[in-house]
């Protein structure tokens, strides 16, 4: 994301700098000052024994940095993740040792899988106790090693400033990710002379931002030769803030575009050349285009198995071009004919300079025809409440301008299919890890990032229960987050697979003992509304979305709804099942 091996301190925070250069300070003072100098004015923090010195310093600096208390560390990390996705900046989390660190693990894995820039500070027992199975001791670095971009243990207070600088630099550059910093208690008490380096340089870490001009030219030539080019855009385009360059490329070349689940909004959802999301629950149009095109131009996408279906049958007629900032993403699963390593923003900008304009051809005509028939659709009903209808109404009422977060499963797919995003950074979902319980806390982070935006979490009755305690956080912080629960009494996606592939044995997917979610919200001091029939949908949405505070809206949808189209796991993209039309 940054251009070279140096980062500037965020100018807007310069005001808050304390003059500490050359003075002897405690580790806690240095740590908090460094975090503030990184431009952080909001973090999600949950205190505990070994980090009290740090939280004491955060108290002293409370005018400069706001600490939001989640009700569970996992939710704190998801909130920072949502905040980072909306702002494009590095999210910050501070948790204590032991259970604080292990509770944060799911949040860390979620963010890392989706390349979200976070710095997570974990407390650690004092150095002399490390390795002794001390109270609340966990080897946080060991536990998180495979699920972080990098991690540090701070061994001496004089290392704090360098490590914090490097942590924020690594989290935000190259392919973004999570950096964990483990802070032993003794280091927060010990003193060192404060020294701050304005620039960061790490000899073993030099991400390639600038795509090679020759490989960009080869890509431009391939586009010129192609009769049926197809753009396959991933989350990298959102991270790199490259949407404008993408739109320019499409306007110049008239190439149809599919965006992955992670990239919804990277290209306007209402654009005539938008094919929808591809893959297992993607549009028929997006999947057929893969099978029919002669050139796939992947930008910041990683050929996930949920996108490609059966690999050997994926894009059989196409050459593959792959633009990615992470060299290891290229040729990981598919053979690539035109690799370009670089930042999507840089590469698309340079590509636009050399690519030849392309006029709409037979391929475009086919695309436009298929868009009429191969788009997402469902049979409308007034008898039962269809979840697709609820999403469509939300889209209409918010004019496509809400920030939407989701939990995981059927509801996630319906939201992705029926809410059209025209702008990036309005869509928060756990794509890689598929974490239930992500959406509600992510919405909290998003609402902090965009206080005036309409922020809506699309949830299921199963997944909302995975972080429902965050109702306290929204009420306490007066966050007007709206939660739409598409309630079918099942773990819907699990039930769908059991219906199709396990002889309708609904093993552990029936959710018994469901609470009245409206009353739950009411008990927490939020507003609760319930829609029981099709006709309730619009009035409940109207009332709920207009309410100035947090709301739970419980929609009792048709219980045995399925997500269509569906490409069963291991099948080719053109072997999709569609909804039966009676």
């Amino acid at each position: 994301m940054a251009d070279s091996g140096t980062v500037k301190t965020a100018d807007n925070r310069a005001f808050w700098r304390r003059d500490m250069e050359g003075k002897e300070c405690t580790g806690a003072e240095i740590l908090v000052e460094c975090i503030i100098r990184e431009g952080v004015d909001l973090m999600f923090g949950y205190p505990g024994g070994v980090v009290l010195k740090v939280f004491d310093e955060l108290y002293a600096r409370r005018d400069q940095i706001r600490v939001v208390l989640p009700r569970h560390e996992q939710a704190g990390v998801h909130a920072a993740d949502g905040w980072a996705k909306v702002t494009g900046k590095v999210g910050t989390v501070f948790v204590t040792s032991g259970p604080g660190a292990t509770n944060a693990v799911t949040g860390i894995a979620t963010a890392q899988m989706d390349s979200v820039p976070l710095v997570v500070f974990t407390g650690q027992v004092s150095r002399e106790l490390i390795g002794s199975d001390a109270f609340q001791e966990t080897d946080a670095i060991g536990v998180t090693r495979p699920i972080v971009k990098h991690s540090y243990m701070i061994e001496r207070p004089q290392d704090i400033a360098r490590i914090v600088r490097q942590a924020y630099y690594i989290a935000s550059t190259g392919r973004p990710g999570v950096v964990l910093v483990d802070v032993p208690k003794n280091v927060t008490f010990e003193k060192a002379v404060f020294e701050w380096a304005e620039t960061v340089s790490i000899r073993s870490y030099k991400p390639t931002t600038e795509g090679h001009p020759k490989s960009i030219q080869r890509l431009a030539d391939a586009i010129a030769e192609s009769k049926r080019p197809y753009l396959y855009v991933g989350g990298g385009v959102v991270m790199a803030n490259a949407s404008d360059h993408l739109l320019e490329l499409v306007n110049k070349t008239n190439i149809p575009v599919t965006t992955t689940l992670m990239a919804l909004g990277a290209f306007p959802g209402t654009h005539p050349l938008f094919a929808g999301m591809p893959g297992m629950h993607g549009s028929k149009l997006a999947n057929i285009c893969f099978q029919e095109c002669d050139l796939v131009i992947a930008v910041g996408a990683r050929f996930d198995d949920r996108v490609t279906g059966k690999l050997s049958a994926f894009a059989p007629k196409a050459k593959i071009a792959h633009v990615d900032i992470d060299p290891s993403s290229i040729k990981k699963t598919v053979k690539v004919d035109y690799p370009v390593v670089g930042d999507a923003h840089w590469v698309l900008r340079e590509l636009n300079k050399v690519v030849k304009p392309r006029q709409p051809n037979e391929w475009n005509r086919m695309f436009a025809e298929m868009k009429e028939t191969h788009w997402f659709r469902y049979r409308p009903s007034t008898e039962v409440m269809r979840p697709q209808y609820v999403i469509e109404k939300i889209y209409e009422m918010t004019k496509g301008d809400a920030i939407i977060s989701t939990e995981v499963g059927q509801i996630q797919m319906w939201a992705a299919q029926f809410y059209k995003f025209d702008r990036p950074r309005r869509w928060l979902t756990s794509g890689g890890l598929g974490t239930m319980g992500y959406g509600f806390p992510a919405a909290i982070g998003a609402q902090f990032a965009a206080p005036d935006a309409m922020v809506i979490d699309i949830a299921g009755d199963g997944s909302i229960q995975m972080n429902i305690q965050e109702l306290t956080t929204v009420v306490e912080n007066r966050l007007p987050v709206k939660v739409v629960i598409l309630n079918n009494g099942y773990l819907g996606m699990v039930r769908q697979w059991q219906e199709f592939f396990y002889d309708r044995h609904y093993s552990s997917s029936v959710i018994g003992g469901l609470p009245d979610f409206a009353k739950v919200a009411d008990a927490f001091g939020a507003k609760g509304l319930t829609a029981r029939t099709h006709d309730d949908v619009v009035p409940v949405l109207e009332e709920g979305l207009a309410h100035p505070g947090p709301v739970f809206m419980d929609f009792h949808i048709n219980p045995e709804e399925n997500v269509f189209p569906m490409v069963p796991a291991g099948k080719a993209l053109d072997e999709m099942q569609e909804e039966e039309w009676a």
């Binding site: 670095i141 090693r145 495979p146 971009k149 990098h150 000899r203 490989s215 060299p327 290891s328 290229i330």
Partner: protein, 174 residues
């Protein structure tokens, strides 16, 4: 085609780097024959030598994934260039009679190995060489009865000709 590759990795000489590398290899399911690590001429840098097998795509993924680790400075596939490779092995072999001792020592002489310890029932042999030599030696000595064996794993270095070094192929960035 599955080939044997010697991958040389220069890493920051930090606490925890070996754990990161071995965790990566295990987590991604790469098979390795051996992994050695030691300091280089620069005490802040360690060299890891990894011997692995795989087709082109697997080796490319291994080198790319290694390169992705923040502490990794440089990854080189030594297999692609002229290089010397050495491994040191200690073998304790059964030699209970004068005749077997003589026979073992003959094999040792042919391979230019060394006897470094001896008891009434065993000989302990040290051999240094590339993997082919070591494997051939083990094959010859096996019939006598190997009691114990310890291998260091291979280390490797590019050859130098007329002042020009052959540094191998630095893992391609796509």
């Amino acid at each position: 085609m599955n080939r044997r590759h010697i991958i040389s990795v220069l890493v920051e000489n930090h606490f925890g780097v070996l754990a990161r590398i071995s965790s990566l290899i295990a987590g991604r399911g790469f098979n390795i024959d051996s992994l050695t690590v030691g300091e280089t001429e620069d005490p802040t840098v360690s060299r890891m030598t990894i011997v692995t097998r795989g087709d082109e795509q697997i080796i490319e993924q291994i080198t790319k994934q290694l390169n992705r680790l923040i502490d990794v400075i440089k990854v080189t596939d030594m297999t692609e260039c002229a290089h010397v490779e050495r491994e040191l092995v200690l073998i304790k072999v059964a030699a209970p009679t004068a005749q077997t001792r003589t026979e073992v020592v003959q094999v040792v002489d042919v391979f230019r190995a060394r006897v470094v310890d001896m008891s009434t029932a065993t000989l302990t042999i040290e051999i240094t060489g590339d993997s082919e030599k070591v494997d051939a030696f083990i094959e010859m000595i096996e019939p006598f009865g190997i009691k114990e064996m310890a291998r260091t794993g291979s280390v490797a270095m590019g050859r130098e000709r007329n002042g020009k070094s052959s540094r191998g192929v630095e893992a391609k960035v796509a």
